[in-house]
């Protein structure tokens, strides 16, 4: 179904930000919108956005491929993206990540068997003074979690898992 049908208000609001002759600018916010439900953008959604903005599907796909926050494949419901870049690593991010892997029983890049959390290593998130830290990309956008410990992270994972079951 077209985003124009499922999210008419949001689409209108997004399009209103850009000059009508440059509506292509709306491709990024529309992709976020399309990604909300499933956590990734499928072909139908790309087609839909292409049509709406009068560009080709290839052009939309090319945007999805370039930016790391768009995904074209399904993963866990929540993507836990731990910053392991230099400043965070200087403050223990690598060890934190390692411990997290151990606790979750998965490797970086993998998803917990229940499909709730995918663990990813990412580059700097502009929170270098609050390492270890990660962000969670989920259905409701992106949320930062800073000055984390493994224990507190595992608690958070439990909450996510519970709420996920609650949803079902």
């Amino acid at each position: 179904m077209s985003l124009e049908k499922t999210h008419p208000k949001e689409v209108k609001q997004i399009l209103s930000k850009y000059p009508p002759e440059h509506k292509r600018s709306a491709v990024m916010p529309l992709l976020y919108l399309a990604q909300r439900e499933e956590g990734y953008v499928n072909k139908a959604a790309m087609q839909d956005i292409a049509q709406m903005l009068e560009i080709t599907e290839t052009e939309v796909a090319s945007i999805v491929g370039f930016y790391t926050l768009y995904h074209d494949e399904k993963a866990g419901k929540y993507r836990m993206q731990v910053c392991t870049d230099l400043p965070c690593a200087l403050r223990g991010a690598d060890e934190f990540m390692q411990n997290l892997c151990g606790n979750l029983g998965i490797k970086v890049g993998e998803t917990t068997p229940d499909g709730v959390v995918t663990l990813e290593a990412v580059t700097c998130l502009a929170a270098c003074d609050k390492a270890p830290m990660f962000q969670i990309q989920g259905p409701n956008g992106i949320k930062y979690h800073e000055n984390m410990t493994v224990d507190r992270t595992m608690e958070l994972v439990e909450t996510l898992k519970k709420s996920d079951r609650g949803v079902k």
């Binding site: 072909k43 790309m46 009068e54 080709t56 290839t58 052009e59 796909a61 090319s62 491929g65 370039f66």
Partner: protein, 815 residues
């Protein structure tokens, strides 16, 4: 004139137009700066970093703004870093050095980096031998790599981007020439980069894959072997190929081509065409070719080619000698007197048509052009002036496209008109349905089928669009046969001519009328005096008919019936067709690949094509066969030398007066400079060494009064209440005899369709993708239903040459 700028490159003083890129300026001066991403037809990208050079500019005094002098010479200030020659524009007094140690080092370093990610599989690569990367590596690269070969990325090597073009991901050097061509030149961004950094790769998500009729061009400009055509890949090595100049026979644009040939074991040691490549003609096709032109050439090597004359014996066609076959035909024609009819099409060369017309005239018969589009007499009057070059049209000019889907009918015109619009020309598209041209139009006029003439007439009245057209510096009108038959198109041509005349847009270069013909040489047929016949059935029935280069039986049951009732039928063609099956005499003609001759394009440019492969069997060139037939009838026509026929033609036709066969072969320098030696600059397109052709002078340009034939009022039918009107439209990839044999295009040709408005479809109880039966006038066929809501509910679009005979609008039923 643009300002000229003088600079020095490697110590050579060069004067070029202001705004020229340093890389291009060097090229003009004969200095090669190596490039990969730069292409003279594309916007500067500066991404491959191959063209690194040292650039200095005269130092200016901050206070006075004057050039600082040193020892009587301007002091040159060099940039600390190397700069890209492909993005920097020339300026007065600039000093460029392309071969200093520093520049060489930069160039070498780029080659090294490119090669470290390249598979180096030249021995099995189609591009090997004509590969810019290979050439530039030899000239500018390091001898050895310092990286560990095993750490190279391994990527997919055979990725179909569609069924026509294949990608080798390992060979791609991410120069984006292909993507930029599709976006900037073709206006169809169906190629893109996926991912980023070292994982960047070319993708196409369109359906079908790489959905553009210009896709083949990307393989020419790809500087490595990453993009290859399904047609040629693994077909031959470039160094085995011979090159012969030719003209594409697929549409009235008349693109200049090169036929690459070689001897082949598969073909029993014969010489065959391996591929069709563009040949530069900046005023016709520049350096491009559409996919139809590139891939549909296979008809000339079809298994159904005729190689021996045949005559009917005991109701069967049997081999005969030339002598016997032509004699039989000649006897019948002579006897028929004024019942002798020549029916020939614009698939033939000028010389063929000229001989045929002469024969008909001498024998007192009638020469009929096999076409359902009229107006060629009018384009001879007010066609585009000599010197026309759409590639130079832009701001202040106007182009009107009416009743034509140029993308489907004449892709390279579409491309050039689109680019004229990009440069600021006012594009007006008037068509009863949406077409791909609309996106680039300043004005889109959507009229109802039947309202063509009224629409054009309205443009000579007051109004925003009319005013803009009227005040344009230059204006060209392209008119076509969308939804129209002979009557309608004749009327439309006249209306367009009147508009052009009234707005003073005739008799000059870049002004005038162009017919979007259905065949390569329809304009030529008109020029030598062929005319289509409104009632063709009547004109054939009971006659002695000489059919050349046409398949009326296969095209139309009504014509088949008429020919069954003919007294005698002689068919001269290159292929077996439904018409040869009913023929009394069959005369095998040579394909355009086997002979030479000339065609006249829709822009009335007369151009030569040359023989590339040996003749098949006993086939002869059409003009020669005709002369043999004529001789048996006591008419003497030149039959051995095509150049002699041409010169006779030129002597007897007003418009051709100044032309000679030699003159057509003349060339002059073109920009950009392309050619075999510097593949990395313009791609593998061929340099034009065998003739740019000559454009005919239309009557309006020659002086004298121009009288345009009047418009008939009721030009085309309109849908009536409660009735569905089937209207013909033109399709690029159709089942025509010159396309159908190309197996590669099978998927794009597809099946016969009928296009309806969704409301009409609903009423009829059919839906998109379903099959329905369409019937009219003795025709009935099963077709695939397509929906287009930009048309009116009363019409059903039926593509021509897809197996359903439709010559003009006709009331129809769809179930």
């Amino acid at each position: 004139m643009t300002k000229q700028v003088t600079l020095s490159i490697n110590g050579i003083t060069v004067t070029v137009p202001d705004g020229t890129l340093v890389a291009d300026a060097a090229k003009m001066a004969g200095i090669d700066i190596p490039v990969f991403c730069h292409h003279p037809k594309l916007e500067p990208a500066g991404m491959c970093r191959m063209c690194l050079v040292e650039i200095g500019r005269p130092m200016l005094d901050r206070a006075t703004g004057q050039v600082v002098m040193e020892n009587g010479l301007p002091k040159i200030q060099f940039m600390p870093k190397l700069e890209t020659a492909c993005t920097n524009r020339v300026s007065e007094g600039m000093v460029v050095m392309t071969t200093t140690d520093k520049a060489r080092d930069g160039q070498k370093s780029t080659v090294e980096l490119l090669l470290t990610s390249h598979p180096l599989d030249c021995p099995v690569c189609d591009k090997g031998g004509e590969c810019p990367l290979q050439n530039l590596t030899m000239a500018f690269g390091p001898g050895q790599s310092r990286f560990i070969y095993d750490e190279k990325q391994h990527l997919q090597k055979q990725v179909p981007l569609g069924e026509l073009i294949w990608l080798d991901r390992e060979r791609c050097i991410q120069c984006a020439r292909c993507i930029r061509f599709q976006d900037e030149v073709a206006g169809e961004a169906v190629l893109g980069f996926d991912e980023r950094g070292r994982t960047t790769q070319i993708v196409s998500l369109s359906e079908p894959g790489f959905d553009s009729v210009f896709s083949g061009n990307t393989t020419d400009i790809c500087p490595v072997g990453a993009l290859t055509t399904a047609d040629f890949r693994f077909g031959a090595r470039p160094w085995e190929l011979k090159a012969e100049a030719s003209i594409c026979t697929q549409c009235p644009v008349g693109c200049n081509t090169t036929l690459n040939t070689r001897r082949e074991a598969k073909a029993g040691g014969d010489i065959v065409v391996k591929r069709v490549m563009p040949r530069q003609n900046e005023e016709v096709n520049e350096i491009w070719l559409c996919d139809k032109g590139r891939f549909a050439y296979h008809y000339a090597e079809s298994k159904k080619r005729l190689s021996r004359p045949m005559v009917r014996k005991d109701d069967k066609l049997a081999r005969a000698s030339w002598e016997a076959a032509t004699k039989l035909a000649a006897e019948s024609f002579s006897k028929a007197k004024k019942d002798f009819v020549v029916l020939a099409s614009g698939r033939l060369a000028n010389e063929d048509l000229f001989n045929l017309k002469s024969l008909a005239d001498h024998a007192g018969g009638k020469a009929i052009m096999y076409s359902d589009m009229g107006g060629g007499d009018i384009t001879a009057l007010v066609g585009v002036g000599q010197g026309t070059n759409i590639g130079k049209m832009g701001k202040g000019d106007a182009i009107l496209v009416v009743a034509s889907d140029l993308y489907q009918e004449a892709p390279i015109w579409w491309l050039r008109v689109k680019q004229a619009a990009d440069r600021g020309a006012t594009l007006i598209v008037a068509n009863p349905r949406a077409t791909k041209m609309d996106r680039f139009a300043k004005f889109v006029i959507r009229y109802a089928y039947g309202d063509e003439i009224k629409t054009v007439n309205d443009l000579s009245k007051k109004g925003k669009i009319a005013d803009e057209f009227a005040k344009a510096k230059n204006a060209i009108v392209f008119y076509g046969s969308e939804g129209l038959g002979l009557n309608g198109t004749s009327g439309l041509a006249s209306a367009c001519a009147t508009l052009l005349k009234e707005t003073d847009h005739i008799g000059r270069p870049n002004n005038g009328l162009v017919g979007v013909w259905q065949r390569v040489n329809d304009q030529g047929a008109w020029e030598v005096g062929f005319r289509p016949e409104p009632d063709l059935e009547k004109a054939l029935k009971g006659k002695s008919v000489y059919i050349v280069g046409a398949d009326p039986v296969g095209d139309d049951p009504a014509l088949a019936k008429a020919l069954m009732g003919a007294k005698f039928v002689a068919v001269q063609d290159i292929l077996e067709t439904a018409t040869t099956e009913i023929a009394d005499v069959v005369l095998p003609a040579q394909a355009y690949t086997e002979r030479e001759g000339t065609f006249t394009s829709g822009e009335r440019r007369v151009q030569r094509f040359y023989a590339a492969v040996p003749v098949l069997g006993d086939a002869k060139p059409d003009f020669s066969i005709t002369s043999q037939v004529a001789k048996q009838m006591g008419v003497i026509l030149e039959g051995s030398s095509v150049s002699v026929v041409f010169d006779i033609l030129a002597n007897s036709l007003e418009a051709f007066t100044d032309l000679s066969y030699e003159k057509l072969a003349e060339v002059h320098g073109q920009w950009p400079i392309v050619g075999r030696g510097d593949l990395y600059y313009g791609g593998t397109t061929y340099e034009n060494t065998q003739g740019l052709g000559v454009q005919l002078v239309p009557a309006a340009q020659a002086g004298g009064t121009v009288r345009i034939p009047k418009v008939r009022k009721e030009a085309a039918l309109r849908p009536k209440e409660k009735e569905l009107l089937a209207v013909p439209v033109n399709k690029l990839y159709d089942r025509g005899v010159t396309v159908n044999p190309a197996q590669l295009l099978e998927q794009r040709i597809g099946e016969a369709t009928v296009t309806l408005h969704s409301s009409a479809a609903k009423k009829l109880g059919v839906e998109a993708g379903a099959r329905a039966r369409i019937s009219f006038d003795g025709v009935s066929a099963e077709v695939l239903v397509k929906i287009d809501d930009t048309i009116s509910a009363g019409v059903a679009l039926v593509p021509r040459s897809m197996g359903i005979a439709i010559r003009e609008p006709v009331a129809a039923k769809v179930k």
